[in-house]
Symmetry: D2
Subunit: 405 residues, 4 copies
């Protein structure tokens, strides 16, 4: 029998880590002995367990340890991570380690070092000169990069569910339902936002054009002006319709005030793009006095950065749109590691894109009238996202009211 | 060739009645000559057309005239309606006339008489003694009833779309979309409600339990107290969860204030039913001081009648619930002909039930977060219903704000 | 300190029973010592734990034990259940025990007796003469009934998730998603159905009218003929449109073959009701040769019973419909305890109604194109239902193909 | 009074062109006289009308004529189009003409010339040397381009609805509903596909990754092999998961055969990208024998071109993906004008992108389980798209069966 000692510690009962571990071991055909087991009795106390994991061959033992490492189990007798070189740009050695979006450390040169810029489905690249480890997507791997392979010396720290309820993120499960008391949910989100801002935290807003179509662009503009938003991730549609709305009072040709279709209104979004093209950029349009209000205007005025990522369905697009999606991803990555909270509004595309590069510790809220959007986000691995099934057109005004009260 | 002269008048251009008529005639294999055609030039002006409808045989001519009558065409040379006796309770003679939900008159004893209590998919029964005509569902037909058959002497007056936009019902098409400026839609509905109440009109609310689950029961209670609601159509679930919420602060065991699940809370709706069963009825529970707030409480206190219709999924049910669905339909019919506006909230079952017995002139709004509810309502024939895809938990507070401003 | 020993046994690790128990105790403010803990090592082995539960007062201890009993914990030192009389029809003593839908036993006269006809949200009534215990809904409680109160002497046996995957019910979580390999899911359901029938089990089908609208009525009719269906739960709409389809080839006036609207077709469902009213009942219509095919026809021909429950939106209804919903529930209860598997198709109303009275051991599948239906079913407590988000119009033909192969 | 004669001809009664024209004139505050009116009596006959449009000022008259031109009205007394130069790349002169997606001609140098590459929301650029007119999106406008402005000399030929039903596109309205006989709809689509292929037409498939997730990739692969598909528009996700499925039998880590999650399976799509990166491209992977089946394999083997457009949420992406979305649009434009039919499957993003550049005469089908996708497509202007709400996992196998029968 091949065996290895592993340790689990933290809220391993409440977070179901221990039973999951035992379950995994046996599902995979291994066996275990519980060597130590100490349960924390009080809320906040942590528990410890030491297990002897056994398997009939080394390969199986490795596979079991691999699985266990993803839920935070650490091999007691430590070895350094194993590294292999990439032989060609954008390619990986066999048995490369694929990251989770949880904080991760590797044991290298006999000490634990934090993997920087962690995000899911990426690789860990070690820089031998600086003794630092970086998370890199496959598209950024260069020939010669030293890539972590196998399973030794990797420690993942998944989020835990400590006892006692703390806020909106603990109180709401990720199950999206429209049959919940929305007023109290909005109050909790508002408290959370204020709390993040009070401690100097950063909030990202990811938004689709429905914010403009439903008449809520002035609300989001106010939130930016009032300092609740630190970065905007969106696409050409949000910016174009926001500018259309600021210049002509319509969104997709429909009057934002009355909801009525405006004659020739379907040309307005092209007019809007034309005006920004004439000015040269959104910033120049604000500076020259062409653009005087709205979401994009407030971003410029309040130095709130935005990343407008191109999409295959774009009209125009605006000159500020990054039409190469990989460049746009890189631009988003510059902001995402510093963010404390993300509010995703009515956009499946940009929400999933953001979820893809977001570390698991960032509190995220996804607001959409379609429960499928939230479900899809969770299916893609962003399980930490709290889904709220509601109408963004009524949600934003009520949230802003609460923020200002 | 068999032929017959028919007249069309009203907004037959704007409402597309004339082209539909010509289209029908030719689709069915008939032919026509336009004998007269006068187009109203100004908004509000009506147009007239006289057509000679031709067909190769009498049967076909009849079928064409039958179709034309549904869109308001009237045969110039008048005959009385034809009547046949029912031979057995709940059965109909062949070729019975099935009603629309539009105002309908029949030519009987040489004069036009209005069909009373019009609703769709029913029969017209003539009372020879009183010279009156009534709309009756098949379940109420008695042996010996005189039932209108064939197509002569029937005039249907479908709603028209006059030029110029008038209010929420003209401005919104029945296409349900969540991407519309919801604030302005709510403003228009509020104006419409106030306008109906100012002229002494009556408003029915049809509601599902989501109103309680989303925390909006106090809002609807206030609307009742403030006189905006004249009749409530609902089921056991709305009343039970409203009472649960009034007595225990929960809805389906979830705290309505915080949205958190309450330990043992899933027993609360049975507790609520138990309390009302002990009191004898909702009214007695209010009078004895057991029930002190909420939707049902305000109904009792403000003499707003309610019809609670039983459903196969009911727990309990409350003693006030009419468990026989046909009796419940009859009870709803007592109110529906006098109603000027219906607001349907988050209930497909009761909304379709109400739509089934509603004359087409009653302005109806259906509010649901699921677009399928509205689509289904339209598919079932209630095309006059304006669908609003939004979250009832945010819609009602915003509507009430607007009503009180 | 008040304390009590409780035992947990079964797959308490895999089914997460033990961590849930520890979690509950501490969430409620109690404490525990683990007196014994024996983990089953092999797939299929069961585990045992004995805990000493402690609380600062008797009330709290009671509340904790109450919670623990719902997940299957049994108090080691046994007492008999406590009984109190109902003082009025349809009313309950304070602190009544509200049932789960899991198999339940009570300790009475020093022995464990099974609670018969278990379903959720009901009461346990003890018949002292026969020493039997019955599950009764509040509406059936009579003055003088002896009702179980408190928490002593009650044992709940929740379903467990043993190690290793067994079939469609284990392999599919209740998470409904349309992005799963539907062909293999259908294969598994077909195997499950065949397996149930091979061992003489009974299958209930709960169906909405979409089966007819989508053109799948002949498929369901074949399934009945071939003996795959033992009981049908449905409403007036399914039966009416099935008969409309059999008599006139339309469903809601739309040709079932071509999908085109048929002129005057919206009268067909009234025609269908008229024909059955003339005959007297569906059975008489089959016997007299009026009805010659379809779902209802095959039910009559193959002695498959059906319960048609009335709903407030019914046209007609057919003479076979039970218009009193409480009577209809009682009729459904006659069949539900003997059923081994339930297939719910495109009906939220009847699916929830069936889920309400179904013991948790009955394997249930809910097929609907709208993920909200499945979510709602789970929210209402029927968590054992496996949801399949697909189109019933394509699902049934593919399932039947598989059943016949 | 300013006035102008306009002509309408075609199926102006059946297609409601005439009443819409009269309605428009009066809504905008103009007036009209009907100078001639000749109604086609037989199916297929066309009708003619000549109207004198009147308005109180020239501006208003222009606006009315502008509107009328969009539904096909032609000014009797012809003038040439007016042209203005663009003063800067990507910018337009005021009052530029924004195209519809209907066939369009301009009157230039005294003759009607067809606008080439017509698509909606674009501009008409005239090349004076060749006397040709091109449709160009704003992003392609160059300084100095001669752009059509105003409304004179433009003729739009909107699609007409001739009497009599012809096929799936006439029989199905654009209303998406899941309650339709799906079998007969599939039969009609299959006939339509065969008919297009029989006359040498081209079919484009636009597909999301759900085709792979639901296990239908082999079906689509077969359709390509059998010659039913001439071009594929998709994204990185479809190609990656198709290749993942071909290489490892999983899609997003879930076994495509059994639907069960595979241990470590979430790494498989990165493995797949890695393999293609190693090979250099999909084509090289096929040639070197790495990729041996699936959708992309059959595209390579059968010389069916594909356009893989990048998106902000892409992992990798594959080397074949065009990461600049504007370049990807240009690539799609190369194929779209020659296509006779488009089948859009489970992708809102790529479906809207394709709809944006598609001429209105191309028959389009959009298959999605979410009715919102179809609604959104129509709202964005692609009203000619027929929506089918069904499960792609069952739709494709049934369609292929029909195609092969």
């Amino acid at each position: 029998m091949y065996n290895r000692e592993v340790k689990l510690s933290g809220h391993i009962i409440d977070s179901l880590t221990l039973p999951k571990a035992l379950d995994m071991i046996m599902d995979l055909g291994g066996d275990f002995k519980i060597l130590e087991f100490k349960v924390g009795k009080l809320k906040g106390d942590i528990s410890h367990a030491k297990l002897l994991v056994e398997a009939s061959n080394e390969n199986l033992l490795g596979e079991i340890l691999d699985e266990l490492s993803e839920i935070g189990a650490v091999i007691v007798e430590l070895k350094d991570v194993e590294l292999l070189e990439s032989k060609k740009d954008k390619t990986l050695p066999a048995d490369f380690y694929s990251t989770t979006h949880h904080p991760t450390e590797i044991h290298y040169n006999d000490k634990w070092i934090v993997v920087e810029d962690i995000e899911m489905d990426c690789m860990i690249v070690v820089d031998q000169e600086s003794d630092r480890a970086f998370c890199k997507p496959i598209g950024q791997i260069k020939k010669g990069d030293l890539i972590v392979v196998g399973r030794e010396g990797i420690k993942v720290i998944p989020p835990e569910r400590p006892r006692g309820k703390l806020g909106v993120f603990e109180f709401m499960s990720s199950e999206a339902s429209s049959e919940k008391p929305i007023k109290s949910i909005i109050n909790k989100i508002a408290s959370e936002i204020k709390e993040v801002k009070d401690r100097g935290g950063k909030i990202a807003v990811v938004s689709g054009p429905a914010v403009v179509h439903t008449g809520s662009a002035p609300i989001l503009a106010n939130m930016i002006k009032d300092g609740f938003v630190d970065i905007i991730f969106a696409g050409n549609a949000l910016a174009t319709h926001d500018i259309e709305s600021a210049l002509y009072g319509t969104s997709l040709g429909m009057c934002v005030k009355t909801g009525e279709a405006v004659r020739r209104g379907h040309k307005h979004h092209i007019y809007a793009i034309n005006e920004i093209n004439k000015a040269g950029s959104i910033k120049e349009a604000v500076e020259s006095g062409v653009l005087k209000k709205g979401i994009m205007y407030e971003c410029i005025k309040n130095d709130v950065p935005f990343v407008l990522a191109g999409s295959i369905r774009d009209d125009g697009p605006l000159p500020d749109v990054i039409t190469d999606v990989i460049d746009a991803q890189e631009e988003m990555r510059k902001y995402v590691q510093d963010v404390d909270m993300v509010i995703m509004i009515s956009t499946m595309l940009h929400s999933i894109a953001t979820g893809n590069i977001l570390p698991s510790h960032v509190k995220s809220i996804c607001v959409d009238i379609n429960p499928a959007t939230v479900t899809k986000l969770s299916d893609r691995g962003s399980a930490q996202v709290v889904g709220i099934v509601t109408d963004v057109g009524t949600f934003l005004p009520m949230l802003y009211n609460e923020l200002k009260s």
